[in-house]
């Protein structure tokens, strides 16, 4: 049995902020070390969800692309969407999931710009779905310590 990473980061953060920082002679050093402590708390929150939020988001984007593919008029974009919709995450490490996420979000930008140029009820619904996903993406990334 050993303390898990969340517990370690918690303890280290508190240690830096309440013991190390106040013992430093200069205000600049104190601020620097306090920010390191805050950063550890942010890393702790992000580490816990790092894989799950990417897996969830990548799946949501693939579903969105699957829905969008038949509605898109540009042949090249339709092909890219179909390919992305049937793709899978290459592995479960954060870097592998992030790499897939970057490619999918790049494609989302192109899809959104395209849909904005279309004028049909279907396109408007797709536009709404994209905005919904964008809002969801900020919920997945939200850190509890942020002011907003």
């Amino acid at each position: 049995m050993k303390p898990d990473s969340a517990r370690l980061l918690d303890v280290f953060a508190v240690h830096l902020m309440t013991k190390v920082a106040p013992a430093l002679p200069q205000a600049y050093q104190q601020g620097d070390v306090s920010v390191l402590g805050i950063m550890l708390l942010a890393v702790k929150e992000e580490t816990e969800r790092a894989a799950s939020r990417r897996i969830e988001e990548n799946a949501a984007l693939r579903r969105l692309f699957e829905t969008a593919t038949p509605r898109v008029q540009d042949a090249r974009l339709r092909e890219r969407l179909a390919e992305a919709a049937s793709s899978a995450d290459p592995g479960l490490t954060i870097s592998e999931l992030e790499c897939a996420n970057i490619a999918l979000r790049d494609l989302l930008i192109d899809l959104h710009a395209h849909v904005e140029e279309l004028d049909s009820p279907e396109a408007r619904r797709l536009d709404q779905d994209i905005w919904h996903e964008l809002a969801q993406s900020t919920e997945r990334r939200r850190l509890s310590m942020g002011a907003f």
Partner: protein, 343 residues
């Protein structure tokens, strides 16, 4: 010894024509400056057979910063507003030759004994004076908007812009920063940029000095709720005064973690105080455009800092923190301004 203290002392000794026995003491770096290294120090000298001392600030360019800014413009802005209804410290010497302190710098008066922290303002005793601080904060911003750049002598220093071109210039600038520096796709901000281009604002009511980082955290205040100095003019430029108003009410500065702008006042109060102070109108549609824009600009700043940090050109911990904490909050602020954030 060739310390920063000694080199600064040599420089100032060359500037004080009637002074002698110049000493620089207690040079101490202030935490938090992401675009300049900021130090406080005490200058001692003899003049007319009397001893003098003054608390001063050194603002020195770092090797790389959160945003590439023009120190000469910042210096000129301090000089222009000193002694006006906009409280600022007195700017003393600007030096762009790196031979003295390795990087360009300027020296200004320290307004000492005051608080600047955006977190402290939400706590007693300062929070007891939130309404008073809000009244001053947006009144002073109105004074900046009202000021005539030509009378301030800033027209030759800051690039001129026509009222109908303010939005295009600023949007192009920050879109360029995102194009150059983003480390990962920004679908929210890219959608915001497209919206901004499809829905241009009306021409600016007047060309004003835009502070460009006017927010809680960039002014000095005391425990009685008085604002003593407006700081951090490094992004100042000429433009639409609504740019500053929109930036000041951006949700990412909700330090009290409630609806109050800058942790101080509701949005409508901030706008009303500003309008009364400057005599301009914050047209809702125009202000909305600048609010969406302010999140594009904010994301440009966070992305730029993240890029510097990742590339190792500036690994100030504040850059690491701001890219983590502020980036997603800025996306959310953009969604809110666009009416796309579910309540």
């Amino acid at each position: 010894m060739d310390t920063l203290e000694a080199r600064l002392c040599d420089y100032i000794a060359g500037k004080l024509r009637h002074g002698s026995g110049v000493r620089v003491e207690n040079l101490d770096r202030i935490f938090g400056g992401a675009s300049r290294e900021t130090y406080r120090f005490v200058l001692h000298w003899k003049e007319d057979e009397a001893d003098h001392s003054r608390r001063l600030i050194l603002r020195r360019d770092p090797p790389s910063s959160l945003i590439e800014t023009e120190r000469a413009i910042e210096f000129a802005a301090y000089r222009a507003f000193h002694g006006s209804a906009v409280p600022v410290p007195e700017a003393l010497w600007l030096e762009e030759d790196p031979q003295y302190l390795e990087h360009p710098f300027f020296v200004m008066e320290e307004l000492s004994g005051f608080e600047a922290s955006p977190q402290a303002i939400t706590q007693p005793p300062y929070s007891d004076h939130a309404a008073k601080l809000a009244q001053q904060k947006w009144r002073i911003l109105g004074e900046i908007a009202k000021a005539d750049p030509s009378k301030l002598g800033l027209e030759g220093v800051m690039k001129s812009v026509a009222p109908g071109e303010c939005w295009q210039r600023e949007l192009a600038r920050w879109e360029g920063v995102l194009d150059e520096d983003e480390l990962c796709p920004q679908p929210v901000i890219r959608a915001a940029i497209r919206w901004l281009r499809r829905n241009p604002p009306p021409p600016a009511q007047k060309i004003s000095v835009v502070h460009a980082d006017y927010r809680t955290g960039n002014f000095l205040y005391d425990a009685e709720g008085t604002i003593h100095g407006i700081l951090d003019w490094e992004m100042a430029h000429l433009g639409d005064p609504l740019e500053d108003l929109a930036w000041s009410i951006n949700p990412v500065w909700r330090w009290a973690r409630d609806e109050r702008c800058g942790g101080l006042a509701p949005r409508e109060d901030a706008i009303r105080i500003w309008e009364q102070s400057c005599g301009l109108r914050a047209d809702p549609d125009a202000l909305r455009w600048w609010e969406v824009f302010s999140s594009v600009k904010g994301q440009g700043i966070w992305v730029s800092g993240a890029q510097e940090f990742s590339e190792g050109t500036n690994q100030d911990v504040i850059l690491g923190l701001s890219s983590w904490i502020m980036g997603n909050a800025q996306d959310r602020a953009a969604l809110l301004a666009l009416g796309r954030l579910p309540s």
